[in-house]
Amino acid sequence: MGSRSSHAALIPDADSLRRETGFSQASLLRLYHRFRALDTNKKGYLSRMDLQQIGALAVNPLGDRIIDSFFPDGSLQVDFPDFVRVLAHFRPADDEDAGLRDPREPEPLNSRMNKLRFAFQLYDLDRDGKISRHEMLQVLRLMVGVQVTEEQLESIAERTVQEADEDGDGAVSFLEFAKEEEENGSGRQLVVSTTVCLKTQLPGRFLVLVISVWNYWKLLGIITTTAFIIVL
């Protein structure tokens, strides 16, 4: 663990990142290790390819869109601060200090609205601030297996937009989207624990301790057991 914390110095302007994203030192460190692990050629940034090589992401129906959300505005690389900023959306939202927060400060990345905005831009391909029926259809296509026919998909997309569309423009704006999510509460679930699991090493150490204690007994045990077996 001692060797790990020395890596903290490697992270470029760790302090400001920590303030901005709200990650703890340990989490940041872990994410940094992950970043380095993903960065195959030690380029110092991640390319699209690096992310595409994550096996589980490849079979995620939204994999491409998730990857794309790391690369805003058509950039081809993401450096560590940006990487962390994207992930910061998924920190648990801290409700308690919502009222106390300085209104001049920008909204923290992990606020409910920002979480929703993140999800919204997964739908909103052309970034016009609206989910058209067409965009909805594309999302559906990504997520629904081949058993469903195109018509079914289309009418589902139609219906989905209709449900959320309040001003009747045939598309879902962010506000409408947020309202919809408010009702079913799925935005609140958008929390991924990225906390560092340093603590989990302890049971292992504990086991080692137990085993080493047992070792003394074992010597005695082996002798007695052999005697025991012979007696049997």
């Binding site: 505005d73 052309d126 018509e151 049997l232």
Partner: protein, 797 residues
């Protein structure tokens, strides 16, 4: 609904009953008749045969005794299988109760019949049969199907809980029952401490596998699932070791007193038996993995090697007085990883199915033994003992759960909530294991064996029926997030999207690989083990091995079924869209939601769905294939276009429009006619006035169409491809409306062009002119295209 239940289930029950009756009656009749004859007749016959050689050979002889045991066993298994079929025919029943309930009921039924007909030879299970033949398959199966990764991530907690939990339960129950036995009024004073401890050890063997099915359906969190799985896996081993040691103690106690040093030796032996078993298991696992490295030419024996080595590890460990159960578990866990990469796909499937089959047969047999011995005279009902056993089982489980998890929560990053602990407490379902151990108690050492068996049976029945049936509702009740249901498709869609997003981000964060020990093992594994154990020609990375699993044939099948369900493209749809807002009836919305829930991709799970009694079709693998194929197409497309994001720039949206039918775009009449000509089946269907979304009509279509699609020979597909090809080259500008809105659901249209360029430019341009043949609708093309497009992704690595 109630009526339907009876209609659906009634006949089955009746049938089963009939079968059961007939079997047992037949067998008992035969048995009686042969019993009487076999006593003296063989001698007579034999004597007769020797004295009078010219006697005729009997034309018809009934020799039931010869086949009796396998015959009856076969009938029982068949009966249980039929019962299972009936059980699953009615869909809601499996959700209501675990399958072990059914097996026990069937067993009790058989038992009742055997008892009623006064069968002469009730089935017996003796110690060697159980330990040598019935137990290993069950353990092997659960070891082999263990999700390795989450298991080792939680290994600390699992060992802590499964190991210490079993011990606490065993000793707790044993000691407190001993205290109860000291009370004179209950008439139990002849049960001594050792016997009580032994009983405690056998009754603490929980078998919570039935609970896992409930968990999976309710989607409980992963660590919780792994806790229960780990307990199911290790608990048997620990209880059996304890049981054997205590049996040894009891035997010893008969002749001499037990001294403290013996107890110490017993403890030491407990450790050695466990550790030694695991050690042997790992060694045999590596050996069998190493051997499968060389089997590429005779893949038929691959399953055999896997099974024989697992069994060998069990036997060797047992020979050395080590724990065979832990050995076979460790063997399965060790070899699984390497064997799966070495063996062929068919062997892999065979292994999986055969393992399920063996374990299911074993367990069915045990449950039937259990049912048979439930009904009968060999019971001793002691209210005090039985009630206190039941109470102590629950109390000690509660104590062990809350105490142990309190401790392990101090070390965990994501502690188990009180809710989780309650669920774990409630999942203490006893099963076949405890019964067998109780049934196998040697009568000479345990005068009150009957009472032990009765108490065990009561505990099993109580936990399996009452807890097993109520745990589903309990988990669902505790699962608060499912409380507020709103009738909305949005919800359905968004929640799933959020889940996928979460899973994706988790993967980006790489939450799983943070153990130093694990990392070290991984390095070691990569550097040495894999080189030794895995065939040379295999690619290294796990994603590549996943691709490897996606056999071309299956992928083609997948695409073809995709075609089947997605042929019709509809003109009415167009009209309907133009007319804009349409009101859908609530039933339609309901059916849409249904459709979505059943067809949306599942969020990837690290714990593969596990069911002790059945091997589910691997939906996750199939899903992975679909996603990969789709994704690969978009990837290729983006690479072809020279920039890597199909996103952001406005053209991207347009390009993906491949999928949709171009509404309002002027249709070239000829093109339309052409498509209509070849898909006239479809268009006639789709011109039905059913503008409303009707699920059932949609469902029916593919089946109707199936035969005609089926008989299209591969060649004609090849041939049929060309005209469309031609079309592409000529009017690429019109590619938006070539009319395969349907087909395109599978792949982006520009890809077609990409494939054309890449593979077909030089290939058959001469043929092109001559290919006037039947212009098959373009829907069929992808099946061939897939041959080619399968590999590029592999190359990507």
């Amino acid at each position: 609904m109630g009526f339907q239940v009876f209609v659906a289930f009634g006949p089955w029950n009746l049938l089963l009953l009939l079968v059961a009756l007939e079997c047992s009656e037949a067998s008992s009749d035969l048995n009686e008749s042969t019993n009487s004859t076999t006593r003296h007749e063989p001698n007579v016959q034999f004597a007769a045969a020797s004295s009078e050689p010219d006697e005729n050979i009997p034309v018809f002889v009934l020799d039931y005794d010869y086949v009796q045991i396998p015959y009856e066993v076969t009938l029982w298994i068949l009966l249980a299988s039929l019962a299972k079929i009936g059980f699953h025919l009615y869909r809601r029943l499996p959700g209501l109760m675990p399958e072990s309930c059914l097996l026990i009921i069937v067993g009790a039924l058989v038992g009742a019949i055997i008892f009623g007909t006064d069968h002469k030879s009730p089935p017996v299970m003796d110690s060697s049969i159980y330990f040598l033949y019935l137990l290993p398959p069950i353990v092997l199966e659960s070891g082999y199907f263990m999700p390795t990764r989450p298991f080792f991530e939680n290994i600390g907690s699992i060992l802590w809980w499964a190991g210490l939990g079993a011990l606490i339960n065993a000793f707790g129950i044993g000691l407190s029952l001993y205290l109860i036995c000291q009370i004179k009024a209950f008439g139990l004073s002849d049960v001594n401490l050792l016997q009580n401890l032994l009983f405690g050890s056998l009754i603490s063997a929980v078998d919570p596998v039935a609970v896992l099915a409930v968990f999976e359906e309710a989607r409980v969190n992963e660590p919780l699932y792994m806790m229960i799985f780990g307990e199911a896996l290790l608990n048997d081993g620990i209880s059996v070791v304890l049981y054997n040691i205590l049996i040894a103690f009891t035997k010893m106690h008969k002749f001499e007193d037990i001294e403290p040093v013996d107890i110490l030796a017993g403890c030491a032996r407990f450790v050695i038996v466990g550790v030694g078993g695991v050690f042997f298991g790992i060694i045999f696992g590596f050996i069998s993995a190493f051997i499968t490295r060389f089997t590429q030419n005779i893949s038929a024996i691959e399953p055999l090697i896997v099974f024989m080595f697992s069994y060998l590890s069990y036997l060797v460990a047992e020979t050395l007085y080590l724990s065979g159960i832990l050995a076979i578990t460790a063997c399965a866990v060790t070899m699984k990883k390497y064997v799966e990469e070495n063996v062929s796909q068919t062997s892999y499937t065979t292994i999986k199915y055969f393992m399920k089959m063996l374990s299911s047969v074993s367990e069915t047999l045990i449950f039937i033994f259990m049912g048979v011995s439930t009904v009968g005279k060999n019971h001793e009902w002691n209210w005090a003992f039985i009630c206190f056993t039941l109470v102590f089982c629950q109390v000690w489980r509660a104590i062990s759960v809350f105490a142990l998890f309190y401790v392990s929560n101090q070390f965990r990053t994501s502690p188990f909530s009180i809710k989780d602990q309650c669920i774990i407490f409630y999942s203490g379902v006893r099963g076949a294991g405890s019964f067998s151990l109780a049934f196998l108690l040697p009568l000479s050492l345990f005068p009150r064996k009957k009472m032990f068996v009765t108490a065990t049976l009561v505990v099993i029945y109580f936990t399996v029926f009452i807890q097993g049936i109520t745990i589903g509702p309990l988990v669902r009740y505790l699962d608060v997030k499912k409380t507020n249901k709103k009738e909305s498709i949005n919800e359905e869609l968004h929640i799933r999207l959020m889940d996928h997003l979460k899973a994706g981000i988790e993967d980006v964060c790489g939450q799983w690989s943070h153990y130093q020990v694990r990392d070290k093992f991984k390095k070691f594994d990569h550097r040495y083990l894999r080189k030794i154990l895995i065939r040379k020609n295999l690619p290294k990375s796990s994603i590549v091995s996943l691709y490897k699993k996606l056999e071309m044939k299956q992928a083609i099948e997948m695409v073809e079924t995709g075609i089947l369900s997605s042929t019709a493209f509809s003109v009415p749809q167009l009209a309907q869209r133009i007319q804009g807002t349409k009101r859908l009836s609530p039933e339609d919305v309901e059916s849409m939601r249904d459709l979505l829930t059943h067809n949306m991709y599942q969020v990837r799970q690290r714990t593969l769905s596990y069911n002790k009694y059945n091997l589910k079709p691997q939906t996750s693998e199939k899903q992975a294939k679909e996603i990969l194929i789709r994704r690969q197409n978009t990837l290729r497309e983006s690479m072809r276009k020279g920039h890597s994001l199909p996103w952001g720039e406005p053209a991207g949206a347009k390009n993906i429009r491949y999928l949709s039918f171009p509404y309002g775009h002027p249709q070239p009449a000829s093109r339309h006619r052409r498509v209509a000509e070849f898909t006239d089946n479809d268009s006639s269907d789709s011109e039905l006035p059913s503008i409303m979304f009707k699920e059932h009509s949609q469902r029916d279509l593919p089946q109707e169409r199936y035969p005609t699609q089926e008989i299209i020979p591969m060649k004609s597909l090849y041939r049929g491809r060309k005209p469309t090809n031609f079309r592409y080259q000529r009017n690429t500008s019109q590619e938006e409306h070539v009319g395969q809105g349907r087909r395109a659901a599978l792949r982006p249209k520009p890809l077609f062009r990409a494939v054309d360029e890449e593979y077909e430019s030089g290939e058959e341009s001469a043929e092109e002119a001559s290919a006037i043949g039947p212009g098959w609708p373009p829907e069929h093309r992808p099946s061939r295209e897939h041959h080619k497009s399968h590999s590029p992704l592999l190359r990507r690595k």
